[in-house]
């Protein structure tokens, strides 16, 4: 038997759907009402990005990435999956990267047109991460504690950041800033798929739109 063909996606997910969704719920229970602050920070970041205050807009999400790294991955997810500690490290790396970009101004798109397709995609993705993702759990019959919120949970943090990156950044910096959020969405999407959750489709759709936006912004000459 070929060893590698014998593996299935489920073989790499060491927990059940019940446990994973309880973990997301416990994040909500533990940190409420911090959600209100993180959402306000997310909305402020989007507003700053659209007003071309890109340095500050890059800086604001950084502490939230560090918070998700510690509170979600290192303190909780790592208890379920030995790879969780490494995921936490990469989220901290993303926080550092955002700070570096904010301080240096590297790759900033200082006058993004709100009508250019990649920026429109970025705005749509950021709004989806900030507003629609938290509503998905209650709208599908779950409790409010199961809502996934930007700055508290990993998925909406990654989704919103991808949208913000499409608005604020360009060139090599845009691709670099998108790597970790996009990789997490791949991991999370595959996890949800292994757990038979339809949420995986949403994450893969966001990834596909982001990729189109990244390519579009990279090949389209700047005005």
């Amino acid at each position: 038997m070929n060893e590698w063909t014998s593996y299935q996606l489920q073989d790499f997910i060491p927990f059940t759907a019940e446990v994973y969704f309880r973990l997301l719920e416990r994040m909500g229970e533990t940190f409420w009402p911090l959600h209100l602050l993180t959402l306000a920070l997310g909305a402020a970041t989007l507003a700053l990005a659209l007003k071309h205050r890109t340095r500050l807009a890059c800086l604001l999400p950084a502490p939230l990435w560090a918070f998700v790294a510690v509170a979600f991955f290192i303190q909780r997810y790592a208890a379920l999956n030995w790879a969780g500690g490494y995921a936490g490290d990469t989220f901290i790396a993303q926080a550092v990267l955002l700070v570096v970009i904010a301080l240096t101004g590297w790759g900033m798109d200082k006058t993004p047109s709100r009508t250019s397709p990649p920026v429109v995609m970025g705005i749509a993705i950021a709004l989806f991460g900030l507003i629609l993702m938290p509503l998905m759990a209650p709208l599908s019959g779950g409790s409010w504690y199961q809502t996934e919120v930007f700055g508290i949970h990993a998925d909406p943090t990654a989704v919103t950041t991808l949208g913000l990156a499409l608005i604020m950044l360009r060139g090599f910096a845009l691709w670099i800033a998108a790597i970790i959020p996009a990789l997490w969405l791949v991991v999370s999407g595959l996890t949800l798929q292994a757990l038979d959750s339809t949420g995986s489709v949403v994450l893969f759709a966001v990834l596909a739109i982001t990729l189109v936006g990244l390519v579009w912004k990279s090949i389209k000459p700047k005005r």
Partner: protein, 315 residues
């Protein structure tokens, strides 16, 4: 003399007396058996020690982190396991928090005498063999492990040598190796032939019977206990049978008392003479009860086992 004749008991009375005495002696035992079930047991590793044929796996199902609600739910599953005569529980440092969850459950329930604690050493977890075993004992909150296995043959030479030393020192009772999904059977065969191991853990179920060719006969010949993992093929066997709405054949009930698919699939596995026990994993108390009932007599004959494989193949 008259007195004696007067008090001589009749044949009918003596039969009643014998009957009453037998009932008095056997009834408590019968009721105990009814409560605890009559789990089949098999001798293992060339010893006269026996293990219940249904054990318990913990992959995915017992990795619940430190969630108090889920910790209590899994404790109930462990309680049902022991209430129904369970023995072997298998875990691994690869299974996330599962060893800690076992520690929590044993702390709540006490450590039953029937517990046969089986763990593994797994290189990516870090630390030496001895360090891993010591840490796992603390996580399980047990004095010793009955069995420590080398997980998926990772660095098996180093780990097995260290485990043999620990066994000789009396720190652990038995040693073994594991594989799953039918991987690396030729290497497993080589180790079973050349090394002094007590147990081998491998995948064996009604749709994955590769082990029947060489490994199971070899285990019988060498007196090596066999733990069958993935008895439901990671849950897909039961899921597929339910999705197809496949009927449980009546003959399966008549021939070996199968009333559920759990009975059918588990009895098939543990009725193989080389298999010591199967280790289904579950998060549900009711499913645990179903699993444990499968360990009761009657078991399928070789003819019935053939009929079982033919039936599953025909679906």
């Amino acid at each position: 003399m008259n007195y004696r004749i007067k008090h001589r008991i009749t044949r009918r009375q003596s039969l009643k007396l014998i009957g009453a005495t037998l009932a008095a002696v056997t009834l408590p035992t019968a009721s105990l058996l009814a409560d605890k079930g009559e789990m089949r047991q098999k001798a293992f590793a060339g010893t006269d020690k026996k293990l219940p044929v249904i054990g318990m796996g913990t992959w995915r199902t017992f990795n619940v982190g430190n969630d108090p609600q889920l910790l209590d739910a899994r404790t109930e599953v462990v309680k049902a396991f022991f209430d129904h005569g369970g023995g072997l529980i298998d875990s691994s440092p690869m299974y996330g928090s599962a060893p800690d969850v076992m520690g929590y459950a044993l702390q709540q329930l006490g450590t039953p005498e029937s517990l046969f604690a089986a763990e593994k050493v797994w290189s990516p977890a870090g630390g030496s063999t001895r360090e891993q075993v010591a840490e796992l004992k603390e996580r399980w909150k047990v004095e010793h492990f009955d069995l420590v296995q080398v997980h998926n043959l990772a660095d098996w030479r180093e780990h097995l040598a260290a485990l043999q030393e620990m066994k000789a020192e009396g720190n652990i009772r038995h040693v073994g190796i594991t594989t799953s999904h039918g991987r690396r059977h030729s290497e497993i065969e080589q180790i079973m032939t050349s090394e002094d191991i007590d147990f081998v853990q491998l995948t064996y179920n009604i749709t994955h019977r590769e082990a029947e060719n060489r490994l199971l006969p070899l285990a019988e010949e060498r007196g090596i206990g066999v733990i069958a993992n993935r008895p439901y093929d990671g849950g897909s066997l039961i899921k597929n049978l339910k999705r197809r709405d496949a009927p449980l054949p009546e003959w399966a009930n008549e021939e070996c008392g199968c009333t559920t698919w759990a009975d059918f699939l588990l009895k098939f596995i543990v009725s193989h003479p080389a298999i010591t026990c199967a280790i289904p994993a579950t998060t549900q108390v009711e499913h645990m009860r179903e699993n444990m009932r499968a360990g009761h007599s009657p078991m399928p004959s070789p003819d019935a086992r053939q009929r079982m494989t033919d039936y599953i193949g025909s679906l």
